[in-house]
């Protein structure tokens, strides 16, 4: 018997050997879905080195016959799957299970599913890399303002704070490379410290489904994404430079990417931007220059099953602030409002004098993931940020170069995240967050700090489920709970503590030691529990029509300025006061969107409604007299508010080369408590663009654009009279009236010249504010002092290699 077996084995060996020589080995494989282990039908399998093809059957099984001994390279492809290449040694293995990743799109887009999306069909709306590059020498706010429903709160022309549906600052989450930005975003004149050149795509999410990143996205969410690189061996890069006639400056951006077959990749990017004084149509805007130096490095390993990504970015911005906006008391403000042009107009200069802001932001993160067969993906992310903000004002003597505001905010967080894609129709995304934050009001400014020292601790847990009801209908449900604890140290003026605000009776537990002179040391401490939720439905109809409906419950804890700020705000001639009695803000948000995604004719119609209880706003409450004269006092208070409106986008292909796109945003904000309009709401605006693109002629593109912003007639009237001792009469202080409507026209031309297989040169010539229109925008904080920017000629040059 043994002999027989031996003989059989021997014969078998010979037979395989001979078979090998005859090349008749059969390799049998099975294609299986990585997530739920179901067989995949109809995958195409190519033996690349033999130029042979087959497909998988109902059971996911395929066979390749007549193989010789040795290595074969298989390439497995399936619709909506990641293409996979594997090398198999036929000598050892003649059967194999091959796992395919079947939900590639969904995996990266969980937060976008069942959500309103920006119109993908029109370039201006999608903010892909090509659009971002048009704004290479501008800011995030300038770039996303092109999306309907998005506006900006400006301080001059360089400090641009994005606004979604009239909401900004702490009500808007900005996610930079999966890290939530903490850069003293509470201030109206604090623009996000982001270099848009570092990102590959920017998404603006207006709807509710933002729970992964926080419970407080009352306004919405801005997502900046880095590019995911394909696994192959390559080295490429680009240099983008931009020159502008207005401000006689521009930027230079360079990036270099190396990817490896093994899945490793690395990217380095650097950007320098410099502008001198900008020009309004009729005069120079003295001290409005900008200088910034930014860089980012990224290193990672990317494979289907596991990988990591390490990212670090540095942003250093110096913004000059219009010199004429530096004023003292309310009489200076009256003089500025009544004067038709800024009081200081000097010759062009690159020098940035006071007043100015100088901000450095460091952001670092490391993220690692691992996928488990038939279960899901586990991700762990650690990140840190350091934000150092210095604001300089006009001072005397030794303090000339000492900032009036010097704050350092350190934030670090750890976020484990789990995506479960085991179930066929149900995807679950859940995670935890632990975050610590420390604010340090740096000593040496010889001012009382606007924001005190504080320590803040946050913890959160969330879960979002996406359920596919049928082929056309998706449902998503999410919950999130957050805990916050803020512990501050601040000295209050004893009269304010005891009499003005009555804190000694409201918060006796915060008193921390004996009265020192006119001040009392305190230790205010607050804890908050926040619940938030989201509900989303998406339904597909014929002809690419998609209907989305979202409901969101968001709640936001007051930010440090709403609680603690105290003091003079320059360029506004006002004293701003936060109150310890401010509580949290809770919003119910509804948004509907009917979309048709098509190049020939597409549209998106999105009405929305937000009801906000405890809406925190900063409004004038009276006048106080100081040694510097009279100042209006602006205090934070809470009211019931509602904001509703509609965003409409349309695109239509007129002919082969010509296409049209347009958008319209209407919005109304009401203070329901006082039955008056809400302050600082964007006015109705619309835009039209006509493009000519010739793909055969160096992708020649010519585009004319128009944007009109109507006068905001719904504003709360906070105008007042003040006694002017010099004139010895009462004068009217018109801080509320809004500037008239304006229309701006622009032109964009570009062409691409290929000089090698990979290399190309893109030339761009643009004109902004073509007719040199003088205008003021009511959402520009410097509108009392000067007109907005005049005409600008811009030339861009991009080399890809």
């Amino acid at each position: 018997m043994q002999r027989l077996i031996f003989l059989c084995a021997f014969l078998y060996c010979i037979s395989t050997n001979t078979a090998a020589q005859d090349c008749n080995i059969t390799f049998k494989g099975r294609i299986i879905d990585f997530h739920d282990k179901t067989p995949i039908l109809g995958a195409s399998i190519a033996v690349i080195n033999l130029n042979r093809y087959t497909t998988s059957n109902m059971d996911g099984v395929f066979e390749i016959n007549n193989l010789c001994k040795g290595k074969i390279i298989l390439e497995v492809k399936h619709i909506s799957c990641e293409t996979k290449q594997i090398t198999i040694d036929i000598d050892k293995k003649i059967s194999k299970d091959i796992y395919l990743e079947h939900h590639l799109e969904e995996l990266n887009e969980v937060i976008l599913r069942a959500n309103t999306k920006t119109d993908q069909s029109s370039v201006e709306q999608s903010l892909k890399k090509a659009v971002i590059e048009q704004f290479t020498d501008k800011s995030l706010g300038d770039a996303i303002k092109t999306i309907s429903g998005v506006s900006a709160l400006n301080t001059g022309n360089s400090i641009v704070k994005p606004m979604i549906h009239g909401l900004h600052s702490s009500r808007l989450l900005i996610i930079n490379n999966n890290v939530r930005m903490f850069d003293q975003e509470w201030g109206d004149e604090h623009a996000p410290n982001i270099d848009i050149n570092a990102s590959d795509r920017i998404d603006v999410i207006k709807g509710a489904n933002t729970l992964k990143y926080g419970s407080d996205a009352i306004g919405g969410l801005i997502l900046l994404r880095a590019k995911r690189y394909t696994v192959k061996d390559s080295l490429f890069g680009s240099i983008l430079s931009s020159f502008n006639s207005n401000g006689l400056g521009g930027s230079l951006n360079s990036e270099l990417i190396r990817t490896y077959n093994s899945g490793y990749y690395t990217k380095a990017q650097m950007n320098y931007r410099k502008f001198g004084d900008f020009k309004a149509p009729n005069y120079k805007l003295t001290n409005s220059g900008v200088e910034s130096l930014n860089g980012s490095i990224q290193f990672g390993y990317n494979s289907f099953e596991k990988g990591f990504d390490a990212y670090y970015s540095y942003v250093n911005n110096e913004f000059g602030i219009l010199q004429s906006s530096h004023i003292g008391n309310v009489n200076d403000l009256v003089n500025a409002i009544n004067s038709q042009q800024p009081r200081v107009i000097e010759n062009f200069s690159y020098t940035i004098n006071v007043p100015k802001q100088s901000i450095v932001h460091h952001l670092g993160k490391i993220e690692a993931y691992k996928r488990y067969k038939g279960f899901g993906k586990l991700t762990v992310q650690y990140d840190f940020q350091i934000n150092r903000r210095k604001e300089y004002d006009l001072r005397r003597g030794d303090l000339k170069n000492t900032p009036v505001i010097d704050l350092r905010l350190f934030t670090t967080s750890l976020q484990p995240n789990l995506q479960v894609d085991y179930f066929n129709n149900l995807k679950i995304n859940t995670g935890l967050l632990v975050r610590y934050q420390q604010n340090d009001a740096i000593s040496g400014t010889r001012t009382s700090p606007l924001i005190p020292d504080f320590d803040k601790f946050d913890a959160g847990i969330y879960a979002v489920g996406n359920y596919r009801l049928d082929e056309t209908t998706d449902l998503s449900v999410g919950f999130r709970y957050d805990f916050s604890d803020i512990n501050a140290r601040k000295e209050y003026n004893i009269t304010d503590w005891q009499e003005t605000y009555n804190y000694d009776e409201l918060f006796p537990e915060f008193e921390d030691g004996d009265i020192k002179g006119t001040d009392i040391p305190t230790n205010p401490r607050f804890t908050y529990h926040n619940m938030s939720a989201s509900l989303g439905l998406s339904k597909k109809f014929d002809n690419n029509i998609l209907l989305l409906a979202n409901y969101g419950l968001a709640s936001r804890v007051p930010n440090p300025s709403e609680l603690f700020s105290e003091g003079l705000h320059h360029s506004a001639a006002r004293i701003e006061t936060g109150l310890l009695t401010i509580g949290k803000e809770i919003a119910n948000k509804f948004i509907l969107s009917l979309e048709k995604n098509n190049n020939n004719f597409g549209f998106a119609i999105s009405p929305y409604y937000k009801g906000i209880s405890g809406f925190i706003q900063l409004i004038p409450v009276g006048i106080t007299t100081t040694i510097r004269g009279a100042f209006p006092v602006w205090e934070y208070n809470q009211v019931a508010a509602q904001i509703f409106g509609i965003d409409i986008d349309v695109n239509k292909k007129v002919s082969n080369n010509f296409s049209y796109s347009g958008s319209l945003s209407l919005l109304q904000g009401d203070n329901l408590t006082d039955n008056i309009p809400l302050i600082h709401m964007p006015a109705a605006n619309f835009s039209n663009r006509l493009s000519y693109v010739n793909a055969n002629l160096n992708q020649l593109t010519i585009r004319l654009s128009q944007k009109t912003s109507l006068q905001q007639n719904r504003y709360p009237d906070y105008n007042f009279f003040t006694y002017n001792a010099t004139l010895q009469e009462n004068v009217f202080v018109d801080i509320s009236s809004t500037p008239p409507s304006y229309s701006l026209f622009g032109m964009h031309t570009s062409a691409v010249f290929k000089f090698s297989n990979k290399g190309s040169l893109k030339l761009e010539f643009n004109i902004e504010n073509m007719f040199n229109k003088s205008y003021r925008e009511h959402l520009n904080r410097l509108r009392y002092f000067s007109d907005d920017l005049g005409r600008n000629y811009n030339l861009k040059l991009k080399i890809n290699y």
């Binding site: 003597g397 006119t518 040694i627």
Partner: protein, 189 residues
């Protein structure tokens, strides 16, 4: 391969953590646990306008020692009185009395005379600036004040930082930012 990857990730994490420590620890601005900020603020708490005619010395004082907010400032004397038809020599002084001894901010103003100017507005009084800055433009720390007949009126003193110089003599058209603006009630006997 698996092990080396894990090692690599661990190494990277370690480097990142260390760099955080370096960033936080090595910053020149670290306050540690010392949170008593800037007890000495740069403030103007007091405006003194001293008028002298021989032995007739009148000092108008406005003082707000706790700065903006808190208690309102006070005037002393409440009803200063000047002699009718008299020429006084006036000197203005700005003090920061939160410091001990009080800091004389007028000195800083004089050092940067070309960037500053005092403006005087009054009903019933004629005030002339008698000093100049380095460019020969009026400064207004020193003045000459002439009273008319008996009555009552107000006197407003304004200090502008970076006004247009020279100007037409009125504070509103001179621009700049207001560092001081106080109004005294005056009686002339």
């Amino acid at each position: 391969m698996k092990i080396t990857n894990t090692i690599k990730i661990t190494k990277l994490l370690a480097i990142l953590f260390i760099s955080v420590f370096i960033f936080t620890a090595c910053s020149d601005d670290d306050d540690d646990d010392d949170h008593d900020h800037d007890s000495e603020e740069e403030l103007i708490t007091t405006v003194k306008y001293t008028l002298t005619n021989g032995s007739d010395v009148v000092t108008l004082t406005y003082s707000d020692p706790d700065g903006e907010g808190g208690n309102d400032g006070t005037y002393s004397p409440a009803e200063p009185s000047l002699t009718a038809n008299t020429t006084y020599t006036g000197v203005v002084q700005l003090l920061n009395e939160t410091e001990s001894p009080a800091e004389d901010i007028t000195e800083e103003v004089k050092d940067e005379a070309d960037e500053h100017e005092f403006f005087y507005t009054s009903s019933g009084l004629t005030i002339t600036k008698t000093d100049v800055d380095g460019n020969g433009n009026p400064l207004g720390v020193e003045t000459s004040l002439i009273t008319a007949g008996a009555g009552s009126g107000t006197l407003t003193i304004v200090l502008k930082h970076e006004p247009t110089k020279p100007n037409d003599g009125s504070s509103s058209s001179a621009g700049g930012s207001t560092d001081v603006e106080v109004t005294f009630n005056v009686t002339i006997n």
